[in-house]
Subunit: 460 residues, 2 copies
């Protein structure tokens, strides 16, 4: 039996999960595992970067779940500060560039895991590549941004885009005593939520002292003679002075290298993979932010950049290429975040997504409390449900509230996953005790109201 | 159309939910609704009583979601302090006793809802009916107990039975500066949890300053010449001095009246009802703590006294007798409680229950954190799963941890409800962000470990 070589492109969640699983499945005399990572760190929490920037998380190392040395001790040949610059599928080699020493070399592979993650979206406006314009994607991005924000030279920060990360960074700036403005072309921030839920988010963000400029697109970034950003201009003619600009528009899959090599992409722009995370090229696997996933409700392929998917997909790729069997079953759009003191969460389809997928639906929103109303610490929670007309099947859920609200999205995610109707959900045996829920849990009250809406619609 | 009369026996969660739904469905010129309640209050939270006793909930009224007057305003003829003492199914009447005035009268009915709740279990030992021995079942019980505990005459409280309510009362006593001892014949408290989980509960209770006397049965209660309890004796010969004794052994369905009238009971001792909450007597319905429910996993009929079931069952009864259609789909044994600072929750079957139901299973326990490990406020959470051999179907789950741990039981309840295997659960799209979960939610880590246990067992 000849020894094989696995090459992993990208040393974060997906890539290192795949490498670790393959390593567990196959002995060191059977498989070499080489992982290339452009940055300094492996297996870190990209989602934790905003909290490190705010200071809520103290040390950069806290975000690293396994360092390059720890991986090496487990028999994975991790090469940090080494960028893969080309993949030759015919020769079965990757071209690696050592960013420290500047030299390039070819590394052969039998199996390849492509896990290059994502890159921040950059609007095609003048000045977008200027100095002082930061993405927040990697730990190294975070380190650079943190150094700027704590330098004393920055007072005004403008965040372009009011997505999850954009708002988290804006809040981090306010925590650090800086002025933060978020500009977004939509009427409410975090466009993955319905506008009525987005209003709550906008209120919370403003209440925290962040300026929100909504319904305005960015026209360009003004720079000083040194080429550094000094202001953001909107198409409506507004000028937002900025000592620093942060991109908070979300991300797109980092597929350039794969595409150039001839690894097929899917309709969404992410790398096309099957249930086992195989690309359409023999022996080439992909996982994480750079791939597209099946959305189980819409039936479409979507790109969702989330650490939880990256970990699962990497695990699946690693098990399969190690000779085992595992599948990634797709996504239903579950997400949660904390916007200042406000907890917001979603699963399934938003109204816009449901319409796009061709569903007809009714909605129900209910206000309740996280604990029994009379119990100390009871906090408000609003639950919004989308149920399919006629069938009553739950299509989507959004939760907005205070402490203890958002994690309830998981039970709704489990019901959507199982294609439950709102009438069935209403009968679920959920936990009840005064310190944890009203006697009708908010989830059940919402299901009850949604069921009534479905029934009312039937007889209309 | 002649006007009909609905009589409801018992004015708490189940009875008043039924009354309210029937009232909504049928007009006042079509249906009279008369509800008899032995106590002073309607629609109160029995589960909240321990927290009122501790002082965490300030006012008795806070526990009442709808008063007799509010029900009357909605067209329900509520008669408090009136006990139904007999039911005559042939004559279609109930015999009511006005406890204030002492008079008795017959009230006719077309439909009857029996919702008499439960009564505290009393071990058949000497002294159990002595003065100073309290159950904690109704708001009136709670008021009496609270008056005693705050009287200044009570210093030492012995709680017989370490169930949920027993522990909550013991904690309430400690909060009030009293000495509390809990005596239970089992080796760990809260017998609905597996012993390994029970150990955590025992530690938390002891840590809070409650004395636990375990593996000892109560032999009798010693009384003073006035017939008031002064000590509890165990069969092992231990004497526990007591100024007050509280029964914390759980409850049994209050079915005496129904049984005497000829309403059939089921094998569990609760009233037998079908999916629509119909008893085996035409026009007689039952709901709440006094009925038995289908356990969806064991297939058996069980009595579970919980406000959440009572509310749902009452709603179902009321909708059906009002001419609508609704069913109660059964239970899966979900429960949650806070024992001092410890959150504990369960769903599905415990090990003992799984064995009794004839399942073979594997178990997996994992320790994790409620938030990302590096995130401020991350607290420990232990998740234990029982998965069926071969199929891998999740049979049961128990969670023990600190703030933010227990409500995760609901997602596991939803997966058990849908008969998911642990391998499917592992693929669930659950919410992730550092303030809410590690990148592998504790639920997913536990499913992963349980899946590995199922696989290992297959190849054994």
């Amino acid at each position: 039996m000849s020894r094989k070589r696995l090459v992993v492109v990208g040393g974060d969640a997906a890539g290192m999960s795949a490498a670790s699983q393959a390593r567990r499945k196959r002995g060191r005399d059977d498989l070499d595992v080489v992982a290339f990572e452009r940055g300094r760190a492996t297996s870190y929490s990209a989602c934790g970067v905003p909290y490190w920037i705010s200071g809520a998380v103290e040390h950069e190392e806290d975000l690293v779940s396994r360092s390059p040395d720890q991986h090496r001790a487990n028999g994975i040949d991790v090469r940090i500060r080494t960028e893969v610059v080309a993949i030759d599928l015919a020769a079965r080699t990757v071209r690696a560039r050592d960013l420290e020493r500047g030299r390039e070399y070819d590394e052969p592979f039998d199996d390849l895991v492509y896990a290059a993650g994502s890159v921040p979206m950059r609007p095609p406006v003048p000045g977008i590549d200027a100095g002082g314009v930061y993405g927040v994607q990697t730990l190294d991005d975070g380190a650079a941004l943190r150094a700027e924000l704590t330098s004393g030279r920055v007072r005004r920060v403008v965040v372009i885009g009011g997505g999850y990360i954009g708002l988290e960074i804006a809040e981090a700036c306010v925590v650090r005593g800086l002025e933060a403005t978020v500009v977004d072309q939509a009427a409410t921030p975090v466009g993955t939520f319905d506008p009525d839920v987005g209003e709550f988010i906008a209120d919370a963000v403003r209440g925290r002292g962040v300026s929100l400029v909504l319904s305005e697109a960015v026209a360009g970034i003004e720079t000083d003679p040194d080429g550094r950003a000094v202001a953001v201009h909107t198409e409506a003619g507004r000028t937002l002075p900025a000592d620093l600009v942060v991109l908070g528009l979300g991300v797109r899959p980092n597929v350039a290298l794969a595409r150039d090599a001839g690894i097929p992409l899917g309709p969404s722009g992410g790398i096309a993979v099957d249930n086992r995370m195989r690309t359409q090229v023999e022996g080439v696997w992909a996982a994480g932010d750079c791939v597209e996933s099946l959305h189980r409700l819409s039936g479409r392929r979507v790109v969702v950049a989330l650490g939880t998917h990256a970990n699962k997909q990497g695990r699946v790729a690693g098990i399969n290429l190690g000779g085992g069997y595992a599948t990634f079953p797709g996504v239903i759009g579950t997400a949660v975040t904390k916007v200042c003191d406000l907890e917001v969460a979603r699963t399934g389809l938003s109204e816009a997504e449901a319409e796009e997928a061709g569903f007809c639906y009714v909605t129900a929103s209910v206000d309740s409390t996280t604990r029994a109303g009379y119990f100390p610490g009871a906090r408000p929670i609003r639950t919004k449900l989308l149920a399919e007309k006629r069938s009553g099947r739950l299509l989507g859920a959004q939760i907005v509230g205070r402490e203890g609200a958002a994690k309830r999205i998981d039970v709704l995610a489990a019901t959507i996953w199982n294609e439950m109707g709102v009438d069935e959900i209403l009968g679920l045996d959920l936990s009840y005790a005064p310190p944890f829920a009203p006697v009708w849990d908010p989830v059940l009250i919402a299901a009850r109201k949604a069921f009534e809406a479905v029934e009312a619609d039937l007889t209309r």
